[in-house]
Amino acid sequence: MKSIILLAAVVLLSTTACQSQINNAKTETVKVYGNCGMCETTIEKAANKKKISKADWNEETKMASITYDSKKTTLDAVLKNIALAGYDNQSFLAPDAAYDKLPGCCKYDREKKQVAIVTQPAKDTTKPMQNHGSHQHDGMNNTSQETNQLTVVFDTYFALKDALVKTDGNTASAKAKDLETAINAVKMDKLPMNVHTVWMKVLNDLKEDAEHINGTKDISHQRDHFMSLSKNMYELIKVAKPAETVYYQFCPMANDGKGANWLSKESGVKNPYYGSQMLTCGKTVETIKQ
């Protein structure tokens, strides 16, 4: 009899020991944004800390059940680690760099991320509020809409250039995709006549280069297409006039010593054809003012 009780006690103890690997366990179910099975692995790995916390994420519901030692950590601490791995959740938004690094299939829609209402903090103070009288969009005049249309194209181009400066093929590919979207979104009938003409001329080449850059992660192939993309973009920006000063820059060594150009918002040279290998190679050949 005694031995049975002992055995029972041992069994009981060992099972509780198995179950309660995490002491003072508390479980909560929270939303974590993500797409696929790969996301699940990353999320659970980010939340997992031996004897302190673990998570079980459901791909269908996007809900994570998080178990943690309430004396050693907090739900927010676990969620912060998940966000740092690239996944938005109820408390934290992932750093943009972490999100950008996620593989293509994991790039979920960032519903929680708000559109920035302030993009140029420094210049906002000096500029008086425009169109203060009318708050409706229709009240804005046509010129600003046209600039807006192409501004998105230019901005995505600059983002693509920055990715090439960093020799980051994945991001470059993603940014080229954005560029395609931006190009397709342009309503060319709204463009002024002179801009329209150039747009028609370069449109197909722009699209083709963007597609090629998007279609590969091979940085040298991307850079090849970036040369002609930059040339066409330059022609476009010359007539469209950028929202702020843009620099047309040239590296004599690119393109097997034939040289190649690119556009940049900064006067300092950051070479997209070589990245850190020869970051400051090149010079500004033309300054395009608004």
């Binding site: 050693k72 912060k80 966000a83 740092l84 938005d88 109820q90 408390s91 934290f92 938004l93 992932a94 750093p95 943009d96 760099a97 972490a98 929680k112 991320k113 708000q114 559109v115 920035a116 209402i117 302030v118 993009t119 903090p121 420094a122 906002d124 103070t125 920055d162 400066v165 960093k166 020799t167 900064e266 300092g268 950051k270 850190s276 290998q277 970051l279 400051t280």
Partner: protein
């Protein structure tokens, strides 16, 4: 004449009346604070530890004044130890400066001291204890001096923004006295905690074996960008803070916020980054600078920066992150309301790239070689080779001749603040007709023994530096040590000559990186004894500083006995640091005990067997370290040995000298020299004519936790052993000794 007289008669009383009126109008407002300094127990990490709280809080209360006020601060010392408070960066009479044993005697336990001084400047500053290591355990606080609203330098859009003072600090569960002691004994426990041991094993894994070998050949121990491991990083006393409203007003998208940031950390530099875009720097060390936009900045120990950040979107709080320079820990402020947008953490340092860089810079004699780069003002940062966010994750492929290879802003598309970008909005030129006195200092140091000095002299070894009132003092500082140093001048702001001409910024701290040369100048305008020192607490306490003193100045009424005060001031860097260790092994006890300070070392080693056959042996050495790198140490010694027929019966040494006495007590004269590869070479001659040469090294890092030791000498004695480190006090050791044979045991070190 007559008219003049009547005019005088009539005008004079009027004038007097007028001045009275004016002085009434601008009557000095006295602002009084009462500070109660008290011991407390605090729990940041799950362990209750001693700390010092003022008015029951850490950090100390934020003191706010407006320019023109008179400050009256009552310090009630309710502890059982002495204290003091230094008002960092303030212009004030010398006796209010708060340096114990220099500008006042320490505030005795259970007494009250009153600091009273007019507020004649504005800006972000802070205050802290200048006594011992109290600053590490809670004695730091914000000190804000506002501009008058009618100040001509009042900047709309900056000085009227919602403002929050933020004090950065660190917390360690280890007593600071113990940290200081361990630093002086090159204890590698902090490196272990930070995963920065940089052992041979780790080096081989990443293909840097040669780098490590060259590093040790040049007699360097593994280096980190900082020395101390901290358990928690705090912003206003908390690792994480939600800033949702300022002065009752809810923050929303589009709002701008000004942060007055002071680095009250005892030894940590912090990287400041923001999730909501650029950081606009608007002031430094309490002085306005022309706004400059950056992606990040590093704040040196005890510096202050005022920055403006924007909340760029609705329903989101943006993380403002302070990360220690070694990137092991951080603290966050979430600015705004809603879901928290994080900023990318600073990636781990590439230590072996740093080691390689140091190898290139270090000459065989311990001097640094900048290879003709003339570095200054933090523009070239050698550490970029270790920053993955600048130089990429992989090994760098840059050309060694690239003049920009250490220029972070040329290498990457993120903008890092450096001193050359700071520009004062006002003309800061010194009086042109004043005589100029030029002083040159070389910052010197020795990591292995944790000795930090100026021109290889610590405070107690150097005379005070005499300057004359009215002189323009120009100081040229070169850093020939392997660590960066934030040099702080008391009581004056200096101009940092940074290429901005008459608009050179005013500062009271200058961070000087290894191999940099910086020039600063100030007008000597307030008499007194002013401390000029490295603000890394443990460097200061090791004596890295000087005292400026004015010729023929009046005596300080708060220092009744200058000789006694000086002796107490000097005691800080003369302090002896104790260490000891003993191996409780199966074949006996092996151990040593040492007392060391800047120059002297008193050490005793012993090997005690468990029976007469194994013998008992002790060696005691009293020596003095010579030279800047302290590789040479002549000593006198005393040896005693008792043994009955050892295992190893060798009684003849390599030179054919015989030694048959089993009971031997002799005096000796000898010299220790640290050879390349950090091997200690000892030559000793004893009173009985016997000569002994010995090679030894005890801390070869094989892997992160494993150390190899060996010893061999001309008495044909030898030893080899392995040590596995558990924690800062215990390790497992196994060794073979020619006298006592094979043994294994537990080593206790203190």
């Amino acid at each position: 004449m007559a008219i003049q007289k009547t005019l005088c008669k009539k005008v004079l009383p009027l004038a007097i009346l007028f001045t009275l009126l004016i002085s009434n109008l601008f009557a000095q407002k006295i602002v009084r604070y009462d500070l109660y300094v008290k011991d407390t127990i605090i729990n940041f990490t799950g362990k209750a530890k001693r700390a010092i709280a003022v008015n029951g809080q850490i950090p100390m209360p934020t003191l706010t004044f407006t320019e023109g006020d008179t400050a009256e601060i009552y310090v009630h010392n309710e502890m059982n130890e002495e204290t003091s408070l230094h008002w960092h960066g303030l212009f004030l009479p010398n006796k209010e400066d708060g340096v114990p044993n220099l500008t006042q005697m320490p505030i005795k336990p259970h007494t009250t001291h009153i600091y009273r001084f007019p507020i004649i400047q504005n800006g972000t500053h802070w205050y802290h204890s200048h006594s011992g290591l109290q600053e590490q355990i809670g004695m730091y606080g914000n000190f804000v001096m506002l501009k008058k609203t009618n100040d001509p330098t009042f900047r709309k859009g900056i000085d009227d923004l919602p403002t929050v003072p933020i004090l950065l600090s660190e917390w360690t569960n280890i007593k600071p006295e113990n940290i200081h002691r361990m630093l002086h004994n090159a204890n590698d426990y902090p490196a272990l905690k930070k995963n920065a041991v940089q052992s041979y094993g780790e080096a081989i894994k990443v293909g840097h074996f040669k780098t490590k070998l060259k590093n040790e050949w040049k007699r360097m121990l593994a280096m980190d960008v900082s020395d101390v491991y901290y358990d928690k990083i705090l912003m206003n006393g908390k690792p994480s803070t939600d800033l949702t409203r300022i002065e009752g007003k809810q923050l929303k998208g589009g709002d701008k916020v000004r942060l007055r940031i002071s680095n009250g950390g005892a030894s940590s530099y912090f990287w400041l980054t923001y999730a909501g875009g650029k950081i606009t720097v608007v002031a430094n060390d309490g002085n306005d600078v022309e706004p400059v936009e950056v992606d990040r900045l590093i704040i040196a120990v005890s510096e202050t920066y005022d920055v403006v950040v924007t909340i760029p979107a609705e329903n989101t709080a943006f993380e403002f992150l302070a990360t220690t320079e070694d990137r092991t820990n951080s603290a966050s402020y979430y600015i705004g309301n809603g879901i928290k947008q994080l900023v990318s953490p600073q990636p781990r340092l590439k230590y072996f790239e740093g080691m390689k860089m140091m190898n290139d810079m270090m000459k065989m004699n311990g001097d640094l070689d900048d290879m003709g780069m003339n570095m200054s003002l933090n523009q070239m940062d050698m550490n970029v080779v270790m920053y993955p966010e600048i130089t990429g994750d992989a090994k760098p492929k840059q050309d060694d001749k690239d003049p920009n290879r250490y220029n972070a802003n040329a290498l990457a598309d993120i903008v890092t603040l450096n001193y050359a970008m700071l520009r004062s909005p006002i003309n800061t030129a010194l009086p042109k007709d004043a005589p100029v006195k030029e002083l040159k200092f070389t910052l010197t140091g020795n990591m292995n023994r944790y000795v930090w000095s100026l021109d290889n002299k610590v405070v107690s070894e150097a005379d005070k530096i005499l300057i004359k009132k009215g002189e323009n003092i120009r100081i040229v500082i070169y850093n020939n040590s392997m660590m960066r140093h934030p040099m702080h001048l008391h009581g004056h702001d200096f101009r940092l000559l940074n290429g901005q001409g008459d608009n050179a910024p005013l500062k009271n701290i200058v961070d000087i990186m290894p191999m940099e040369t910086d020039t600063l100048e100030f007008n000597a305008n307030v008499e007194g004894d002013w401390f000029f020192h490295c603000h890394i607490l443990y460097h200061m306490m090791s004596g890295m500083g000087r005292v400026f003193t004015y010729e023929n100045q009046a005596a300080n009424p708060l220092i009744p006995n200058p000789k006694l005060a000086q002796r107490k001031l000097f005691a800080d860097d003369r302090k002896m640091h104790f260490m000891s260790q003993n191996d409780f092994a199966t074949n006996g006890n092996d151990g040593e005990m040492m007392l060391q300070n800047t120059r002297w070392s008193i050490g005793s080693e012993w090997r005690l067997g468990y029976h007469d056959m194994h013998g008992y042996e002790t060696e005691t050495h009293i020596g003095r370290y010579l030279g800047k790198m302290q590789w040479l140490m002549p000593f006198v010694g005393f040896d005693w040995r008792y043994r009955k027929m050892g295992i190893d019966e060798q009684e003849k040494n390599l030179f054919g000298q015989t030694n048959t006495k089993d009971n031997r007590a002799v005096l000796s004269l000898g010299v220790n020299y640290t050879l390349p590869m950090l091997v200690r070479f000892q030559t000793e001659i004893f009173t009985d004519g016997i000569v002994r040469l010995q090679l030894m090294r005890e801390d070869i890092p094989v892997t992160k936790r494993l150390r190899f030791a060996f010893m061999v000498n001309t008495d044909k004695e030898y030893m080899a052993g392995l040590n596995y480190i558990f924690n800062r006090n215990f390790s497992l050791r196994t060794h073979y000794d020619s006298d006592m044979g094979f043994g294994a045991g537990l080593t206790f070190s203190y």
